[in-house]
């Protein structure tokens, strides 16, 4: 067991750090959260800078246009960009972390050539059309149907919780192509152009007050057969490839960010006198220890993936369970530090407190994650 980095990894870190120090001061300020076109432009601009510097799709395979970096190098990249305060992957999230890796793993040569370079350059944004009003945690019960008509599928249905739908060019869409097959076997994965006739996007206001998500309505939308990734009715397996990427790496940068938040809480508590409350002080101390341990768990999972040479596995569910709850505890502690000021909607950390409530729901609820842990790691029987 070793936590030191190789010379090559240290060189990689140093070069990245130097590049960040050079490029970040020249970056335009981040737009307001409600300014979707502005956010898209900002995120695309950052992605373009990454591309020009050779950091785009760092962990993607070389033949998909990436750099084929090791998991440890990817970890260093996420750690350093967060530490330096670089923009978050933002509107490019789905393209870079979901749809892109899925197309890289499952797409044909033509599909890879069509869709991957624009993701890496920041030219095209993707959104995720998985959840439906009747199919959230029970994703396999989705009902949006696609019927073959000549050289196209005709798609009708609706999707919900579609992040970035307002500014996305493409949607990784799960549809039912065989209503008579067992429910996991009749699903296909399509690339839906968001400007196709019949696509309607309606913003969805969250409890945080912002329109982070949207509903997407699909009314007899024609999607060419050539836009299907993987075999017809094999979309569930294709999707599982995507989800393992999401759970493996999605929150790495955020752990670093949470530790910085804790430092801000400590400074604030010292300034406003609440640090003298031993109960609050000890609560912050415990959270500091927990986030330190979560960072180590990240390193553990990455080195385990590196050893096995494979895709991140169910260990990501363990991490997500621990992290999503710790993040909520962090912002509850933040409210204690602020006192009544935490009730001011634009107070420091109050928007984060609100958005933290989604963490135990999005990307697989904690209840679903516990089922995954119990059945796939502990081997408990499937049941009710």
């Amino acid at each position: 067991m070793d936590l030191t980095y190789t010379e090559e990894e240290q060189d990689f870190r140093a070069a990245l750090r130097a590049w960040l120090a050079k490029v970040l001061p020249a970056l335009p300020p981040a737009p307001s959260p409600d300014d979707w076109p502005g956010r898209r432009a900002h995120d695309a601009g950052w992605q373009r800078r990454l591309y020009d510097a050779g950091y785009a799709g760092l962990h993607w395979p070389v033949d998909a246009g990436g750099r084929g970096a090791t998991p440890t190098q990817h970890l260093i990249f996420l750690e350093e960009t967060e530490r330096a305060g670089a923009p978050y992957v933002g509107a490019n999230f789905v393209g870079l972390l979901h749809a892109g890796p899925t197309i890289a793993a499952e797409g044909s040569a033509e599909q890879r050539a069509r869709w991957l370079p624009p993701v890496l350059r920041g030219d095209e944004m993707w959104c995720q059309g998985f959840s439906e009003p009747g199919a959230g945690s029970d994703l396999a019960s989705l009902r949006t149907r696609a019927v073959r008509d000549g050289d196209a599928y005709v798609v009708t249905g609706s999707k919900i919780w579609t992040s970035h739908a307002e500014v996305a060019d493409w949607c990784e869409l799960l549809v039912r192509t065989d209503p008579d097959a067992p429910r996991h076997r009749g699903i296909s994965w399509l690339a839906l152009p968001m400007d196709a006739p019949g696509v309607t996007v309606r913003p969805l206001r969250t409890l945080a007050g912002s329109a982070e998500f949207a509903e997407v309505f699909l009314d007899e939308v024609r999607v060419p057969l050539s836009h299907r990734v993987g075999a017809e009715n094999d979309g569930w397996r294709v999707t599982m490839v995507t989800l393992s990427f999401e759970r493996g790496t999605a929150f790495v940068g955020e752990v670093v960010a949470c530790r910085r938040t804790l430092e801000g809480l400590a400074r604030t508590a010292r300034a406003n006198g609440r640090w003298d409350d031993p109960v609050l002080r000890r609560r912050l101390g415990r959270l500091y220890g927990e986030f330190g341990a979560l960072w180590r768990l990240t390193q553990w999972n990455v080195s385990a993936a590196e050893r096995s040479g494979g895709v991140p596995g169910v260990g990501g569910s363990v991490f997500k369970l621990a992290y999503s709850h710790a993040r909520q505890e962090l912002y509850e502690a933040a409210a204690e530090v602020l006192g009544a000021d935490s009730l001011v909607l634009d107070a420091r950390w109050t928007p984060d407190r609100l958005s933290s409530l989604s963490y135990t729901i999005a990307a697989g609820t904690s209840q679903i994650q516990r089922n995954i842990v119990a059945e796939r790691i502990l081997g408990l029987p499937k049941g009710r």
Binding site: R267, V302, S303, L380
Partner: protein, 308 residues
């Protein structure tokens, strides 16, 4: 970065697991509970011969010359086996108290608050005691049948051993947490109610999943702290391991239902030992204060991102 056990480390762990499985199985455990000797002197010497106590002593001093990383792996196994006795104190006494390294001496320490000392009557020496030999003490009834307690006027000074002691104790806690998880999962897969194994019910599944998450986070924290030997990481590892062991045993008891509340089920032994260990070397309150101080020191002066 290769934050995974090496082949040698895995082999060492497997060796200790095999030794303990052969020498301290359920029969030996229950015999001790039923009034047998709490500390098995012959097993203590076998552990000494296997290098359990001299593990971190330099080879030049007759030790094995390994580090804390190996230490936490073998202590995790001792915790899993629920092996009684002052394992941590004797390990820390190797090279300090004659016979400790070889396992011919049983050495305890005043690592509990309130003047309580564990295994005093079984011990040949007390680590950090003012004088030689074992001080007098008043026996008290212990919550854990395999951790006899005495109240002692001056239990000695253990501050120099606190960090290593806390970390190795955390490793024992992790082993216990992983073991109670195993017991719970096995029971949930075998015990049937309402016509199916209770492990098929989400209410039971989610208890077990929670146990695994706590144990895995704690285990990683313990391993990382063993590698870095950082005071804050050791404190955090202790907090997480105590929680994993105590809550893990409680959840295991719950999964066992009525059977879990009986003397015959082993789970109460894990829970009671976990309670004792959570009070050894460093309490949760002390660990949280240490971490808070470290957080504040690292936070630096007020910054532009702070609240006004």
């Amino acid at each position: 970065m290769h934050f995974q056990p090496t082949e040698d480390q895995e082999a060492l762990r497997a060796g200790v697991r095999a030794l303990l499985a052969g020498r301290y199985g359920r029969e030996e455990l229950r015999a001790a509970v039923d009034g047998g000797p709490v500390v098995d002197r012959a097993l203590w010497r076998e552990l000494g011969t296997a290098g359990f106590f001299a593990l971190r002593l330099p080879e030049s001093a007759g030790g094995v010359g390994l580090g804390l990383a190996e230490g936490v792996l073998v202590f995790e196994e001792a915790g899993r086996a629920l092996l009684p006795g002052p394992l941590v104190a004797t390990h820390l006494a190797a090279g300090v108290v004659p016979g400790a390294a070889e396992g011919t001496a049983v050495v305890t320490a005043g690592d509990l608050d309130g003047g309580l000392v564990a295994y005093l009557a079984e011990a040949d020496a007390v680590l950090g005691a003012a004088g030689p030999g074992v001080p007098a003490g008043e026996p008290v009834r212990s919550v854990d049948p395999l951790t006899p307690l005495h109240r002692v006027a001056a239990p000695g000074e253990v501050a120099p051993y606190r960090t290593a002691g806390a970390l190795l104790t955390a490793a024992l806690q992790v082993g216990s947490a992983l073991r109670t998880l195993e017991l719970a999962v096995r029971h949930a897969g075998e015990r049937e109610q309402f016509g199916q194994p209770i492990g098929a019910f989400q209410a039971v599944k989610h208890l077990c999943a929670g146990m695994l998450v706590r144990a895995e986070v704690a285990r990683t924290a313990v391993y990382a702290a063993a590698v870095t030997e950082d005071a804050g990481e050791v404190a955090a590892a202790g907090l997480l391991a105590d929680e994993a062991a105590v809550l893990g045993a409680r959840d295991c008891l719950q999964v066992h239902g009525g059977m879990g509340f009986t003397w015959e089920a082993d789970v109460h032994l894990h829970l009671k030992r976990a309670w004792v260990r959570a009070r050894q070397w460093r309490t949760a309150e002390q660990a949280e204060e240490l971490l808070a101080a470290e957080l504040l020191a690292g936070a630096g002066p007020p910054g532009p991102g702070d609240a006004p």
